[in-house]
């Protein structure tokens, strides 16, 4: 038990209303009182509310997250740090993580998305890694929702605005439109960096007496309680307006919107790189969600130490800030450093070179306590600041804020599908495959993403070998050591289809992992690690909790089967809105991003056809029975997500991926493309026209022998069953490809030959397709016209 902190002017009395405002339940309050042996002060309550928020404590998901496989022979650091770290050989490591910035992006798309990119970049470079690539995964409402175009434009511009300026190429991503995201968009951003394995830095406040320094932008009243806001549903009592939150920011009822400053971010990045090289740091962490509080608490928690911080010394830009505000501010572009003793001058000198504020604000202790001091009424920005006489404003055991945060085993109940049980007669049938194909390739969900990717600098730093638009992006990374440069090639993909997860949470999550890894092997890369971003609705609803738990089981099963660990991640809950139309939860969206290693640059494969006369094969089943569930065709024809729940056979998937990777590594593939949304015909169409240069477009002549049953036939053409890859090989390699597939027990069907300027598909006993690659390219290019 500690002495209660001195009351501070401006403190509000602890009342039931105040607890509610802070989203601290009565039970949690009782727990705080028990841990402290006294009631918390106003400031301490604020600290508990953010540290025990879903965002910082993972209190609803933690129990389940433990089931994820996080270890492996190449894993240097798994979840729990600022980012995951995986060995890529020769003394270098890939450092990566994905994070969500969903709620702020719906309120203000540009200024919501931009700091999301900045935050994840800092999480990565804080570990000693120079960021080399970014990805993003976006979900918007239906294309004809009145806010969708503005949100798409704003989010894309915000991501580009930050990434382009700081100079990290955005090399890929995915976008899906579905009515379930009408009032809750998703913005998940991923960054990968590369570090020397002997220069990885951790967020640890170690070493008794070591100085703690604040570096970067000054503190303002930005985004106070962003971490707790992430647990807000939109709407609630003020259910009339889906923009209630934005309205309240406008009216000044909520704290200031945080604004990203990519220029400051770039200065921070370069200064950090110099600090890492100078060997002056003991630990370092970004001040992200819950700012100074979470960074200092977590650093002490990981090191098992304590810290003492003097808020009077914190650089600030707003006047009359209370300790509560300084501690909870989410001003961007700030880092917390623990320097080696006596090295603080060197740290300050490097910051000065980069024009950054830097100040010693505290020191590391061995008390296991988080102690914060401030002088009542002191304001360094005042004309004549009062003399400093700091008093203790928080004195809390570090453990109570971190390890002892609540963990909930929330009740679960099986999901009732929104769509109800599927009936066979509901299944859409394609009577004109050519018309359906053109509709699908030009649809917002399946068409070209060039309008988006062109707003991102995807080639800065001169390392992008495979640009956005293929199955995975590939980046060449110069790894420098002892004056020598080694080249490493890393591949990146991100994936999830919430429609599958909605229909079958476990299977859908497995499919996300399978597809993201399939994208990598199709590009010639061996998957080495995954990071996830689990976007779900309100976990206090048993059906949502059940989806979350089952999705985690699915991720775990697929990662185990494919032997790929999850090394970092993020959970975003409460993505739902209640308004006049009722409750609107998002589709359960456990997004996964994967990093792969291309061992030789010659192994790189892209998705589009390369040469006339190349032979086209389908690896995997051509007409699996159940494939239309959750498909784009189903949603377009039936107006809602539905159909038989999708399934995946992980053993078959593992065999397929091993085969594709071995074919790529044997240089037997001219192209490889995974079958995904839109199925076989859409994949074939994409192979003819997705190179960045239209002069590379090449048609193909294909013959398909399919079941006569119209539903099965439609399923074969447009179904989205997993574990299938379309490859092409030089005619002289065709037998080798088929032979290897046979050896490895993967079904391999010769579909036809590459050549000409048209895609011609003969369907035995049925319709045929004959369309030019140019027409397909054009249809794909127009898919986002509704936005621009």
């Amino acid at each position: 038990m500690s002495a209660p902190p001195a009351p501070f002017p401006g403190d509000r009395p602890i009342s039931p209303e105040l607890l509610r405002e802070h989203k601290v339940s009565d039970e949690e309050h009782a727990r705080i009182v028990a841990a402290l042996g006294r009631p918390p002060s106003y400031t301490e309550l604020g600290v508990f509310s953010v540290m025990w928020s879903e965002h910082c404590s993972y209190k609803s998901s933690r129990l389940h997250l433990r089931r994820l496989p996080t270890k492996g022979p190449k894993v240097i650091q798994g979840p729990g740090e600022n980012a995951g770290v995986v060995d890529i050989g020769d003394g270098f490591a890939a450092v990566f993580k994905m994070e969500s910035h969903n709620h702020p992006s719906f309120i203000e798309p540009y200024q919501g998305a931009a700091p999301g990119v900045g935050g994840i970049l800092r999480d990565v470079f804080t570990m000693g890694a120079r960021p080399i690539a970014g990805l993003n995964s976006l979900r918007f409402g239906r294309p004809d929702h009145p806010r969708t175009p503005e949100l798409v434009r704003g989010v894309v511009a915000g991501i580009g605005g930050y990434g382009n300026c700081i100079g990290v190429p955005t090399v890929g991503g995915e976008v899906q439109f579905d009515a379930a995201y009408d009032t809750n968009i998703l913005v998940n951003a991923f960054t990968c960096g590369v570090a020397r394995t002997d220069r990885i830095f951790y967020g640890r406040a170690a070493g008794l007496g070591n100085p703690i320094l604040y570096m970067g932008a000054k503190t303002g009243r930005d985004g106070i309680h962003g971490a707790t806001m992430a647990s807000d549903e939109f709407g609630g009592e003020d259910a009339k307006s889906e923009l209630a939150t934005a309205q309240s920011i406008k009216k000044g009822e909520r704290s200031t919107m945080q604004v990203g400053d990519p220029f400051m971010g770039k200065l921070l990045l370069e200064a950090c790189m110099e600090l890492f090289g100078a060997d002056v740091l003991e630990g370092i962490q970004d001040m992200g969600a819950a700012g100074l509080t979470s960074s200092s608490v977590e650093m002490a928690g990981r090191a098992g130490s304590g810290v003492e911080i003097d808020l009077d010394l914190v650089p600030r830009r707003a006047k009359h800030m209370l300790p509560y505000e300084i501690l909870l501010s989410e001003s961007q572009e700030r880092m917390l450093l623990v320097a080696k003793k006596g090295k603080e001058k060197d740290v300050i000198a490097i910051c000065k070179k980069w024009d950054l504020d830097c100040a010693v604000i505290g020191r590391v202790t061995d008390t296991g306590r988080w102690v914060v001091k401030a002088t009542p009424g002191y304001d360094p920005l005042a004309h004549a600041p009062a003399p400093r006489e700091a008093v203790v404003v928080c004195d809390l055991p570090v453990g109570a804020l971190t390890d002892d945060a609540p963990v909930y085993d929330r009740p679960r109940a099986p999901v009732t599908l929104r769509s109800g049980a599927p009936r066979p007669e509901d299944s859409p049938v394609s009577s004109d495959p050519q018309k359906d194909l053109l509709e699908l390739v030009g649809s917002p969900n399946l068409g070209s993403r060039q309008w988006i990717f062109r707003q991102y600098d995807h080639i800065v730093r001169g390392g992008t070998i495979v640009k956005p638009g293929s199955d995975a992006a590939v980046v060449r990374v110069p790894c420098e050591r002892d004056g020598k440069t080694l080249w490493k090639h890393l591949a990146f993909a991100v994936d999830c289809n919430g429609r599958y997860v909605e229909l079958a949470p476990e299977e859908g999550a497995k499919m996300a992992v399978a597809e993201v890894c399939r994208n990598l092997v199709c590009s010639g890369a061996e998957p080495i690690g995954i990071t996830d971003c689990l976007n779900f609705a309100n976990p206090e609803r048993p059906d949502v909790m059940d989806q979350l738990a089952r999705a985690i089981d699915g991720l775990a099963a697929a990662c185990n089967a494919l032997a790929v660990p999850i090394v970092s991640g993020n959970v975003s809950l409460y993505n739902e809105t209640t308004d006049a139309g009722g409750r609107r939860p998002i589709l359960p969206t456990p997004t996964v991003a994967a990093v792969g290693q291309v061992h030789e640059p010659e192994h790189v494969v892209t998705q589009w056809f390369k040469g006339d006369g190349d032979v086209v094969f389908l690896l995997g089943e051509i007409a699996p029975e159940r494939g239309l569930g959750g498909s784009e065709l189903w949603v377009r024809r039936r107006g809602a997500v539905g159909g038989p729940p999708p399934t995946i056979d992980l053993d078959a998937e593992v065999k397929l991926q091993k085969l594709v990777l071995s074919l790529a590594q044997a240089r037997l593939l001219a192209s490889a493309h995974d079958l995904a949304e839109g199925g076989l015909l859409v994949a074939l169409a994409e192979c003819t026209c997705t190179s960045s240069d239209a002069r590379d477009d090449r048609g193909a002549r294909v013959e398909l022998s399919l079941p006569a049953d119209p539903v099965l036939r439609t399923t074969a053409l447009f179904g989205e069953a997993p574990s299938r890859v379309l490859v092409s090989a030089r005619a002289s390699d065709a037998d080798a490809v088929a032979g290897r597939a046979r050896e490895m027990g993967v079904s391999c069907t010769r579909l036809g030959v590459v050549g000409g300027a048209r895609l011609a598909v003969e369907i035995a006993g049925g319709a045929s397709i004959d369309v030019s690659a140019a027409e397909l390219r054009d249809a794909r290019a127009r898919c986002l016209d509704f936005v621009s």
Binding site: I107, E108, Q111, G220, M257, V259, R317, A318, S331
Partner: protein, 80 residues
């Protein structure tokens, strides 16, 4: 008549552009620059008289589109 709408980032919201300009002015040797805020000036030709109704209409325009009230303030001047 002519009207002008000045749009600026709210005083409490970070203005990275203004800060960068302030630091550059300092480096150039201009002393005593305590703060810089960068905004937009939007000039509008509009029918009507310089009265409160017109001002209210312009304020509505500013609130609906010219400014982003989540992060920006605006000021309407008539007869500019």
């Amino acid at each position: 008549m002519k009207a002008a709408v000045m749009v600026r980032v709210k005083p409490e919201v970070l203005d990275p552009q203004g800060d960068a300009v302030r630091r550059a002015l300092e480096k150039l040797g201009f002393e005593g620059v305590r703060g810089v805020r960068v905004g937009k000036l939007i000039e509008i030709e509009i029918e009507g008289d310089a009265d409160p109704t017109l001002k209210a209409r312009l304020e509505k325009m500013a609130d609906a589109m010219l400014a982003n009230p989540v992060i920006e303030d605006f000021e309407v001047k008539l007869g500019a």
